[in-house]
C-alpha cells in the first residue's frame, strides 16, 4: 500500500467515522439518559439533511453563508421537534417494557418517513459544499477534498462540546447521574422531566447536525432515515450503550473495518460492521466502553 492510498483511505475513514460518531453520540446519549432505544433517531438525521437543503434555499444568501447559517439553525429546529416528541409521546412510555418503547419509536420512524415524503417529495436533493471549502488539495499524490476535512472538524467540535458538557457542567453531571440513580436525583430537586426532554432534544440535534454535515456530499432524499440508523445502532452497540467515548471509538472501528474491507475483501465489505458487532457481543456484550447490567 503506497502513501497515496494510505492518505486517501485515512481521509475516507475519518470522514465516515465523523458522521457515524455525531449520529451515534445522539443515540447513545438518549439511551444513557433515558434508557430509551430510539428507532426514530434516523428520522432526525434525515430531517436535518433535508431541512438544510430547504434552509439554504430559503435563506437565499449567496456564497457559503447560507450553509453555515443552516448548520446552526436546522439542528435547533430539530431539537425543538425532538422536545415536542418527547413531551407528547415518549413521556407516556417511560418505564414500560422495552418492546413497547421499540414499537412506539418505530411507529415514529414510519410517521416521520411519510411526513418527509409529503413535505419534501420523493426526489433527491443536492447541496454544493460551501464555496470556501468546496475545492481540493494534493498531499503526496493523494487528492483530499476540503469539505471532507470540514466534516471531520464538525465531529471534533461536537466531541469536544459533549466532553465539556458531560464532564465539566452541572447539567452534564445531572445527565450522568440520571442514568445511575434517577430517584435520588429527583429527590435532590432536579426536574427529571425537563432533564429528559433536554437530553432527547440534544440527541435529536446531534442527529440533525450529522444530516446537515453530510448533505453536501450525498444525494439527500427519502430513505436516509433507515440508511443511517442501522449503522448508528451497530456503532452504539460496539462502543457501549450510553457511552460517548464508546460512540467515538465504535465509529472509528466500524469506519475502519468497512473502508479497509472494501479495499481488501470487497465481497464481504457490507458484512464487516455486522461481523464486528457480533464479535463484540460475544466477547464483551456491554460494548467496549459500556458497563455490565447489574
Amino acid at each position: 500500500m503506497n502513501i497515496e492510498t494510505v492518505i486517501t483511505e485515512s481521509v475516507s475513514i475519518l470522514t465516515d467515522a465523523s458522521t457515524l460518531f455525531i449520529v451515534s453520540a445522539g443515540l447513545t446519549l438518549v439511551f444513557g439518559g433515558l434508557r430509551l432505544i430510539n428507532m426514530a433517531h434516523g428520522s432526525f438525521y434525515m430531517i436535518g439533511a433535508l431541512g438544510t437543503t430547504t434552509a439554504v434555499a430559503a435563506f437565499g444568501i449567496g456564497g457559503s453563508a447560507g450553509f453555515w447559517l443552516a448548520l446552526l439553525v436546522v439542528p435547533v429546529a430539530v431539537a425543538a421537534l425532538g422536545a415536542g416528541v418527547e413531551v407528547t409521546v415518549l413521556r407516556r412510555i417511560y418505564g414500560k417494557e422495552d418492546l413497547a418503547q421499540l414499537l412506539a419509536t418505530f411507529a415514529l420512524l414510519l410517521v416521520f418517513g411519510d411526513l418527509g415524503l409529503r413535505l419534501w417529495g420523493s426526489d433527491d436533493r443536492t447541496l454544493s459544499p460551501p464555496g470556501a471549502v468546496g475545492g481540493r488539495f494534493h498531499l503526496d499524490g493523494a487528492v483530499i477534498p476540503q469539505y471532507n476535512l470540514v466534516v471531520i472538524a464538525v465531529a471534533a467540535v461536537v466531541g469536544a462540546g459533549l466532553w465539556l458538557l458531560l464532564g465539566r457542567t452541572t447539567v452534564g453531571w445531572r445527565i450522568r447521574a440520571a442514568t445511575e440513580d434517577p430517584e435520588s436525583l429527583a429527590v435532590g430537586g432536579t426536574n427529571l422531566a425537563l432533564l429528559r426532554t433536554g437530553v432527547f432534544a440534544l440527541g435529536a440535534a446531534l442527529a440533525a447536525i450529522g444530516g446537515a454535515a453530510i448533505a453536501p456530499l450525498e444525494a439527500v432524499g427519502p430513505g436516509l432515515d433507515t440508511q443511517i440508523i442501522v449503522s448508528a445502532f451497530i456503532v452504539t452497540v460496539v462502543g457501549g450503550l450510553g457511552s460517548i467515548q464508546g460512540a467515538a471509538l465504535g465509529a472509528l472501528v466500524i469506519a475502519t473495518v468497512e473502508t479497509l474491507g472494501t479495499l481488501w475483501v470487497p465481497s464481504y465489505a457490507s458484512s464487516a460492521g455486522y461481523i464486528v458487532m457480533i464479535l463484540v457481543l460475544a466477547v464483551r456484550p456491554w460494548g467496549l466502553f459500556g458497563t455490565p447490567e447489574r
Binding site: 486517501t8 420523493s122 468546496g134 481540493r136
Partner: protein, 418 residues
C-alpha cells in the same frame, strides 16, 4: 331470558343482513369488471424509501394515461380506475399488493414495479392468474427469459440492451481508435450484469479498448473516495458507471470533489431526474444514456404529452413517467383490439402488434414481448435549458441506438430460457 333471545335474534338478523349486503357488494364488484361502468388497473410500485422517485413518477405516468383515456370515453366504454400500492422494495409485499388488486379490486391488468426482484415475483403470480403485467421501470433481462410468461410485457430496454447502446456509441464515435476504459458498478446482480454486458458488447463490436480498472463498491455505499482515487490513478479516458438515481448523484458530487471529470469522461444514466437533482452541478460533457428522454423526441405527441404532464404535475416527465404512460396506452389499445379485458385476449392482441404510443408506433416483439424501443445516448450540456426550467439536458444531436443493433435475437432469447 327473553331479552337475551331478542338480542340474539337481532344479532343474527344483523349478521344475515350484513352477509347479504356483503355478497351483493362482492357480486357487484365482480360484475363491475365485466359489465359495470369502470374497469380497474393496478400499479404496485415503490413509493417510499430511497427509490421512491422512480415509483412516484412511473405512477404519475400511469395515472395521466388513464385520465387521458377517460377524457376520450375510457376503454370499451368503461372509465379506467387506477389503484396503487407501495411495495416497500419487498417482493412479498409486491405480490400481496397485486393479489389484493386482482382478487379484491378485480384489476384486469397490473403495472410496475421498480425493482426487478419484485417484478419477477409478481410476474409469476399474474401468470397464474392470467392477468397481463406491464413492466415500465424494472428491466432485468430475466423478466423476458427465465421467468417469461405470455402475460408479461416489457417496454424498457433491458440490462443487456442499455450497455450495448453505449458500446455502439463508442464504436461509432471512435471507429477503431484505442480507448482506455474503467468500470464502476454497485456490487449486486444489476451492476455486475450491466458491466459484463458492456464489456462483452465492446468485444462484439470490435472496439479497440483497454480495461484499466474495475470497481464494485457495495450497493448504497455513501463514501466512495477510495474508489475514486483508484480510478483516478488508472487515468481512464472513459468510466462506465452502472449506477442510477440517488447513487449516481452521490457519485457525481464526490467525483467532482476529486476532479474526476477533468480527465475522464464518465458514462452513466444521466437522465432527467438525475440532471434535475444536480442542477447547475450537472457534469457538462459527461455521456448520458436514457431509455426515453423527452428532449430527444420531436414528435407532436411527445411534445403534447410533455406540456400536459408539466401542467398536471408541475414538472417535466422522467423516462419512468413516459414509459408508464406508454405501457397503459399499449394495454388500452390491445383491449380495444380484442374487444375484451380478458388477460388471454389482451395478451394475444398485443403480442407481435404495433400499438401507437407517445413514443411512436413500436412493435411488441412476439417472442419475448419486448417493445422494440431504441436506447438514447448523448453528452450533458454545459448550458441550462430554459424550456426545462434551467436544467442542463443533453447536447444535440442525440445518438440513437436502434433496437436491431442492441437486442438479442429471438433465437438467443429462447436459448436463455433453457
Amino acid at each position: 331470558m327473553r331479552l337475551t333471545r331478542t338480542s340474539l335474534a337481532l344479532a343474527a338478523t344483523a349478521a344475515l343482513l350484513a352477509s347479504a349486503s356483503g355478497c351483493a357488494g362482492s357480486a357487484a364488484s365482480a360484475s363491475s369488471a365485466a359489465s359495470g361502468s369502470t374497469v380497474t388497473i393496478g400499479e404496485s410500485t415503490t413509493l417510499s424509501g430511497s427509490i421512491a422517485s422512480l415509483g412516484q413518477t412511473g405512477l404519475q405516468g400511469v395515472q395521466l394515461a388513464a385520465a387521458d383515456l377517460n377524457a376520450h370515453g375510457g376503454v370499451l366504454g368503461r372509465k379506467i380506475k387506477v389503484v396503487s400500492a407501495d411495495d416497500a422494495v419487498t417482493p412479498a409485499t409486491g405480490v400481496a399488493n397485486v393479489r389484493t388488486m386482482v382478487d379484491g379490486d378485480h384489476a384486469v391488468a397490473v403495472f410496475g414495479p421498480v425493482a426487478s426482484s419484485i417484478a419477477s415475483a409478481e410476474e409469476q403470480f399474474t401468470s397464474a392468474q392470467h392477468i397481463p403485467i406491464f413492466f415500465h421501470t424494472s428491466n432485468d433481462i430475466g423478466l423476458t427469459t427465465t421467468t417469461f410468461s405470455k402475460y408479461a410485457f416489457q417496454i424498457v430496454p433491458n440490462t443487456v440492451m442499455e450497455p450495448r447502446a453505449v458500446a455502439d456509441y463508442l464504436a461509432k464515435t471512435f471507429a477503431g481508435k484505442p480507448v482506455t476504459i474503467a468500470t464502476f458498478a454497485p456490487n449486486y446482480s444489476f451492476g455486475t450484469d450491466t458491466v459484463a454486458s458492456f464489456i462483452q458488447a465492446l468485444k462484439d463490436l470490435h472496439v479497440n479498448y483497454k480495461l484499466v480498472k474495475q470497481e464494485f463498491p457495495p450497493l448504497g455505499a455513501t463514501d466512495i473516495g477510495p474508489y475514486l482515487a483508484a480510478i483516478e490513478s488508472a487515468q481512464p479516458q472513459f468510466l462506465f458507471n452502472a449506477q442510477f438515481g440517488g447513487d449516481l448523484v452521490t457519485f457525481t458530487k464526490q467525483a467532482q470533489s476529486y476532479a474526476l471529470f477533468t480527465r475522464t469522461q464518465v458514462i452513466a444514466m444521466y437522465d432527467y431526474s438525475v440532471l434535475q437533482t444536480l442542477g447547475s452541478g450537472a457534469p457538462a460533457g459527461a455521456i448520458g444514456f436514457d431509455r426515453a428522454p423527452f428532449w430527444a423526441g420531436s414528435s407532436s405527441a411527445m411534445q403534447a404529452f410533455v406540456t400536459e404532464f408539466h401542467a398536471t404535475y408541475g414538472d417535466d416527465p422522467s423516462e419512468w413517467a413516459i414509459l408508464g404512460y406508454a405501457s397503459v396506452q399499449q394495454w388500452a389499445w390491445a383491449a380495444t383490439q380484442a374487444k375484451s379485458f380478458s388477460g388471454d385476449a389482451v395478451s394475444a392482441a398485443l403480442s407481435g402488434a404495433t400499438p401507437p404510443t407517445v413514443l411512436g408506433d413500436q412493435q411488441v416483439r412476439a417472442c419475448d414481448h419486448q417493445t422494440e424501443l431504441p436506447e438514447y445516448v448523448g453528452t450533458v450540456s454545459a448550458r441550462p435549458d430554459p424550456s426545462a426550467g434551467g436544467i442542463p439536458l443533453w447536447n444535440t444531436p442525440v445518438f440513437v441506438a436502434p433496437f436491431s443493433d442492441i437486442s438479442d435475437s429471438c433465437a438467443q432469447m429462447q436459448e436463455l430460457r433453457k
